[in-house]
Symmetry: C2
Subunit: 247 residues, 2 copies
């Protein structure tokens, strides 16, 4: 190791173990033109499965930078299995949710259409790009997966039997989040979870009933102030990580 | 009460109890031109001290909207005494910190210059404007106060004897935040606190020593991923509110 490596790249399926890796056009452009990489520069690579690897720039061409993969820097660990199910909101805040949720350690992002959802088209590639960039910067070894948007009733109808739902209800009838999570039985707590956040304006009454009556739901409250959807998501993830995750 | 009031205005010193209130030019413009208020429209007013009041638009002139203050809607409650001390970062993220910290219930925002602080001028009026807007939207009855930026050593040298410091150290040597806060003795926990967040790139080693050696400091960790400064601030506030605040 010669000093700290400041550039980390997620290269999906193209991490070959050891040997030569060739970056695609976008990452080649980024590394060659934006970061002005030259032969011998060291970067870190990860693919979400095989840990983090040091690599050295072997050649720089306009649309194809090749790297020699060297030693493993970090083993792939296990990470919490936490979904964030959220009603899509305006573009800038959607970027923000994808970035912050990635930093805070969410494993899967699932946009959900609700009755009061205003945005009705979600670019999942854009969510993915934001999640990758955040994962590269926050030293994660995985990138959250992104689900195709679904309607709430369909999502709940096909809900996995073993996945708990942390429902942040605005009516404040839930226990404080940390206490509510701590109160869930241990064996359930150790399993997979999802945080469910409504749109600006909240779920409507029928939706709230449907969610609250789901057997997997734990209703929680996030304090006396009205939080925007993105703020509520960040707060809920932080509290979940603290109570049941890897913080 | 005739329906839910959707517009809330912070009017600082000009809430007269009952009687007529005249808005300044900016708020008059907002209410008259942006929101197209007409006589009889109901809004809510707060000043940070006297609770929330219903008011009815009495007259709309271009630069002066007057309101008749009617009944009190909410009593002024007490709120947690929590400072957020943060190294200023780029403009958009600074706006973001002021907005989110307000939503999450911080009482005072204190920008601090550190050795690795890149931004060296902070527009406190801009922080204030962001805090006011967030307070209006999140149904707070107060607006966080904003300190003039200070250097870290000066800030710590004049630190209030009774105010605890939650120091989010990146080296992960601290206890998990929620456990660390819960472990602080009750009488201290009930008192005033500050969350201290470093710049992107972190505090340098001397600064970290200075902070850690302060008698009021509780060192906490925020999980294994590297959080950006603004993300760390949001997570820390959420955990503090959950452990010691009003959530």
């Amino acid at each position: 190791m010669s000093g700290k490596i400041s550039i980390r790249l997620y290269i999906g399926d193209s991490l070959p173990g050891t040997g030569l890796a060739t970056l695609g056009p976008d990452q080649s452009h980024y590394l060659g033109n934006v970061m002005r990489a030259s032969t011998g520069m060291r970067v870190a690579l990860f693919n979400g499965r095989d840990g983090e690897w040091a690599a050295e720039v072997a050649s720089v061409q306009k649309k194809a930078v090749t790297l020699t993969v060297a030693e493993k820097l970090k083993e792939q660990g296990t990470e919490p299995d936490l979904w964030l199910v959220f009603a899509p909101i305006k573009k800038a805040r959607l970027d923000f949710i994808a970035q912050k949720a990635t930093e805070l350690g969410v494993s899967h992002l699932a946009p959900v259409y609700t009755r009061r959802t205003i945005v009705d088209r979600v670019k999942t590639e854009r969510l993915d790009a934001n999640a990758i960039e955040a994962a590269e910067q926050c030293e994660r070894l995985t990138v959250p997966t992104i689900a195709e948007p679904q309607k709430l009733d369909k999502l709940l109808a096909a809900w996995p039997a073993d996945r708990r739902i942390m429902f942040c209800d605005e009516d404040l009838s839930g226990l404080p989040a940390h206490a509510a999570l701590a109160a869930v039985a241990d064996k359930k707590a150790a399993g997979p979870w999802a945080i469910l956040i409504g749109p600006e304006g909240g779920f409507d009454d029928d939706e709230r009933k449907m969610i609250r009556s789901h057997p997997n739901t734990t209703v929680v409250a996030l304090g006396p102030r009205v939080l925007r959807a993105d703020t509520a998501a960040m707060a809920a993830i932080s509290l979940w990580q603290s109570a049941l995750g890897d913080w």
